[in-house]
């Protein structure tokens, strides 16, 4: 299957008939997990990802006493793919979580200063857990979309007099002011394509994932894949990501 996918891409075709820069159908469902403060389910082609957000109370980091805490974790659960093993997150899960984290953190999408309860002592923590349910390619873009959608629908839990969380009661939404969108641009030979399906992931030479903000600023980038990218192709990949991000952003509410 993989060699066939490779042949097709070289001829600018794809297994499912898509154009090189076409994304598969995307379905986003918000607030699917009752117990979470925020959540979203994303189906990108046949890839399925859930992002769940839990909020807690914590002590701020010493160098940012008046900011809340953001933590992103990803689980590549074995049920999602025969290639995922049980156990603590491997390098791919860790990498994905950290890239999603950077996209949100660097873009300053969450107004972290508004999450302070007592400066220097108590702040709100935002835990984003990305759960891969079905790996059919392009986990990163799907996960970033899920995380963003979940964030935009996250409610801040009510706190009691002692600053403890009262589960089930909320006051206001998490202040999210930007919508960074991540697009992974893939490369095979001199062909660039987007949204790799599972068979396409294993044959690609390299991938450049770019997080773009609504004002077209770039807030995160990560090259993946085992081959290098010719210097002169980089700009084209960035342009492609910027263009596509505008389209995808319309899907997120």
């Amino acid at each position: 299957m993989e060699t066939y996918a490779l042949e097709l891409i070289r001829n600018e075709k794809r297994i499912d008939g898509r154009a090189l820069t076409q994304f598969r159908d995307i379905e986003i469902k918000e607030n699917i997990i009752e117990n979470a403060e925020g959540s979203a389910y994303v189906k990108l082609g046949n890839t399925q990802v859930i992002a769940g957000i839990k909020m807690g109370v914590g002590t701020p980091f010493p160098d940012t006493p008046d900011e809340g805490i953001l933590s992103v974790n990803a689980e590549f659960t074995p049920l999602a793919s025969p290639e995922f093993e049980s156990g603590p997150p491997g390098e791919n899960a860790i990498e994905l979580a950290r890239i999603v984290d950077r996209g949100i953190r660097e873009s300053k999408s969450i107004e972290m200063e508004k999450l302070v309860i007592t400066p220097g002592e108590k702040v709100l923590s935002v835990f984003i857990d990305i759960y891969i349910i079905d790996n059919q390619g392009n986990l990163l873009d799907a996960a970033a979309l899920a995380a963003l959608s979940a964030l935009l629908n996250t409610r801040i839990p009510k706190l009691d007099a002692e600053g403890k969380i009262i589960r089930g009661e909320h006051e206001g939404k998490l202040p999210v002011v930007h919508k960074p969108i991540t697009v992974s641009v893939c490369k095979v030979g001199d062909k660039l394509f987007l949204d790799p399906a599972k068979e396409e992931e294993t044959i690609l030479d390299a991938k450049l994932s770019i997080a773009v903000m609504e004002d077209e600023k770039i807030c995160a980038m990560q090259k993946q894949g085992s081959k290098g990218i010719e210097f002169d192709v980089l700009e084209k990949m960035v342009d492609l990501a910027m263009e596509k991000s505008m389209e995808l952003r319309k899907l997120v509410k």
């Binding site: 390098e91 990560q222 290098g228």
Partner: protein, 240 residues
Amino acid sequence: MGKKSDTELIIGGIRIDKRLPDQTREIKMKVGNILSANGSAEVSFGDTTALASVHGPRQLFPRHLQESQTGILRVRYNMAPFSVDERKSPGPDRRSTELSKVIRLALEPAVFLDDYPKVTVDGFVEIIQADGSTRVTGINALSLALATAGIPMKDLVAACSVGKINGTLVVDLNGEEDNNSESDVAVAMIPNRNLVTLLQMDGMLTKEELMHLLDLAKKTCKKIYEMQREALLEKYKGEE
């Protein structure tokens, strides 16, 4: 990375450590410093020092990891507990796991692994002093270690960091600049082939700024590549 503050990192076009925006710190390189390894190197950029060593090619256990057609490259990036301001707990953490992966991918395109089916080449990067730009310093060192170990390579890989501080585009960020930058970018290249093997960016940049930084990185990587060559040649010419 920490908070991006309003720290004055550039005053009158000069950086706090007296450098110009496009100037790297003092770079030192030496090879063959670890006898127990098949190949080794030490590289420092200012106060950031990375040791790298290569064991291999060697047998790979457990057997099921063996790729029958080609060898594999494994990389472990680690920071010594005393390398940073606040003691770092020993052992891998999420950051070092990610960096181990990206460093491996930065070097993989340069190594001929199909000459060694079923075996592994193990690369180790230890940061013994950290003052910003540790991963690129590590890549420069590991590239040299691979060459001295006699691992067949297409070419050396050179790496550097570039970024934006106080609105100015700069090269080779030190720790303070890294923590307070508007953006920092890590780049690794095989300069003669114009090939980029590592590219990571965070912060906020316009596309123009990004492209400008990439050009700066390309020029700097070329300079670093020449220094790597010097370090290798010196080792073999300068004996006695």
